[in-house]
């Protein structure tokens, strides 16, 4: 798993490449939490994530809880269909606005 974080128009864009599971989710959480010091709007680029386990879903929800306390937003862009299905069935999807592309997401939460 690789993770890169950049800021676009005051929005933190987190791009993840690979799988988010019990081994990698804590790392993502650590890196994103550090970025949260500076921002309250986060867009996850998920277009290169083909698998996300329950630890990944929990990581996203805990970022959401951290940010929503500061009036922030967490959005997801480019979700794989299968991940979207899993998130829907397990109730996680309801917390996140989703967008087809990063650009679309940036425009919406700007």
């Amino acid at each position: 798993m690789e993770i890169s974080i950049k800021t676009v128009d005051g929005i933190t864009v987190v791009t993840i490449v690979g799988e988010i599971d019990g081994r990698t989710a804590p790392d993502v959480h650590r890196r994103v939490s550090a970025a949260l010091e500076a921002t309250s709007k986060i867009l996850f680029d998920m277009s290169q994530v083909q698998y996300m386990s329950s630890a990944g879903l929990r990581m996203l929800l805990s970022v959401y809880r951290q940010v929503s306390g500061k009036n922030g937003r967490v959005a997801l862009a480019g979700l794989y269909e299968e991940i979207r299905d899993t998130m829907s069935v397990t109730g996680f999807l309801g917390h996140f606005p989703t967008y087809t592309t990063v650009d679309e997401g940036l425009a919406a939460i700007r």
Partner: protein
Amino acid sequence: MERIDTYPTHLRGGFKLRPGRPYPFGATLVPGGINFSVFSRHADYCVLVLFEKGKTEPMVEIPFRGMFQRAESGDPVWGDFRIGNVFAMVVFDLDYEDIEYGFRMHGPYPRVERGRPGIHRFDPSQVLMDPYAKAIGGREMWAEEPDWNKRYQHRARVLHDDFDWESDRPLEIPMEDLIIYEMHVRGFTQHPSARVRKPGTFAAIREKIPYLKELGVNCVELMPIFEFDEFENRRVNPETGKMLLNYWGYSSVGFFAPKTGYAATGKSRDGTMVADELKTLVKELHRSGIEVILDVVFNHTAEGNEDGPTISYRGIDNATYYMLTEDGYYQNFSGTGNTLNCNNPIVRSTVLDCLRYWAAEYHIDGFRFDLAAILGRDPRGVPLANPPLLEALAFDPVLGKCKLIAEAWDAGGLYQVGSFPAYGRWAEWNGQWRDTVRKFLRGDFGQVGKAAQRLEGSPDLYGERGPTASVNFVTCHDGFTLADLVSYNEKHNEANAEDNKDGTNDNTSWNCGWEGATDDPSINRLRRRQMKNAFAMLLVSQGTPMILMGDEVGRTQCGNNNAYCHDDELTWLDWTLLETNQELFRFVKNCIAFRNGHPVLRSNLHFRNEDYLGTGYADITWHGTRAWQADWSEGNRVLAFMLCGRHARSGTAVDDYIYIAMNMHSEALPFEIPRLPAGKRWHVFANTSRVPPDDVSDPGAEPPLGDEAEFVVGGRSVAILVGRDRRTTPT
């Protein structure tokens, strides 16, 4: 501040360990690791067996006692990770999503061979599932052939219990306001006509919530969802070549884990999302005002008798978990091979832990206990006057607002309908309601007096407990569907491949003139009317009505009254029936809305049969074809009653007057109708002898009755009138 117990103290085989905590039992995520805790009174040595998910061979085996290394120095050190009869150990740095675990237990010898009786059945060669497993692998996909070469078939998994419930909690709908819909999780949506994304799953039920809301029920009772093995006793029907499975699931493998094969997420790489999926369903049902009751099976397990498989309990502590004869044979009060030793103090607390877990972690609203009479037997099988388990459940703080519903009989001949130890809490499946109403509906003689008792909440059975002790039903999963009740005189269970010997012969059914499906329009009309009659009586009766999945659209099982082994169109709900039998659906839907709109139909206290408010009318009055003159004689098949709306809920609610006339004669009869107070007049809500749309009205839009003195009720028909102010009559 960081806890000091987040660091390992011992090492073994490269794994970091520390002595664990005995409570809670099972596998619990703790900072840095997982706490494994398992109880056995009779085992003297235990080994934790860890697998990578799905693997045949273990990743490591760690004994709870023996030589370890000190974590800080690597020096050898003796360790015994046990307190009392509980083995407990923390293993650090495990990826909980990716492991399965089990135990090997050593205890008194000699080893008992399969098929032989024995008090203890310790067999260290067998890996055993944790009785407290919160998730169980091995049957990830429904009916997908497992790898039978794996000796460890039902594999304990670890869960994160941190679901985000937001503000959800159990709904606490009063029993008298509840309308239960009994459903099979897979059967509800597996039929292609259901048109859902994930057929046969928890997730698919969520897609069908709008249907449940339209019907108007406010509670679903899920047939068993504890992990079970659909392959248990699987066999092929020699005549048809069809595979027969354990489709119903009244045979628990694990009491703490939802059935993985019922989850859309069950087959995902990370099998721990099953719990999140079920919790999401519960949360969404609650959001729609619908409660969830679980049908729970604590009377026996899937391990069967001496010939059955060793999955968990018998290998962990046979003498504790099961009722045994002195020779070590399994007692069989359940009719399925073994009997869980429910009034053993340890098993009792396991049952309590289990139900608390479902109430607290899954926000379950109530439980229906399969063959609950067994739960009142002592360890030798003798019925107890004051059964500790039933008392403990009734007084438990966490279960304090949960519905507790007993199937108040067992396969050992104990029949407790009306006498189940209730402690002011327990309700019962009222089998007498079913039997009497079926007889009355069929036109049997001598039923009028009993039918009156059933319709007013069975005060003869539940005099002190009130009508809310009575769960009323015409049909349930066990027996004919309603459509079959009016289409078959005899059961037709040939497809079960047991020579039609299984299933009850006591169906109290009537085929209306032809055995099975027919295109005779007069027979089909009569059957439709009989189904409406049954629903009408169910939904005006005091007590809690329960509807079997699909009866509202006339689902048939082709005369099979014990369809436990069929996973196909025979048992799945065919959603095209919603169009074919739209007439019945509309009738049921409106009767439910009528019940919901009239508190006088939903009392939590019995009627007093007197006018205690000075309204000029007693709370309930009985009539016949002549007003004020009910005919209780043996040869009569006619009954009518009136409820005084001023007495609704013991005078605390204001409602209309309601009059119900039931004519189970084959001929139409004129009924003299009681006069209403000045200013009110009768309106016709339902009349099953009429053709749609006049068979039932939309509640509140009932047309006025023309002749206020006399009303002709057709043969084998039910009429429901509502008496209210003239001015509210729609024009």
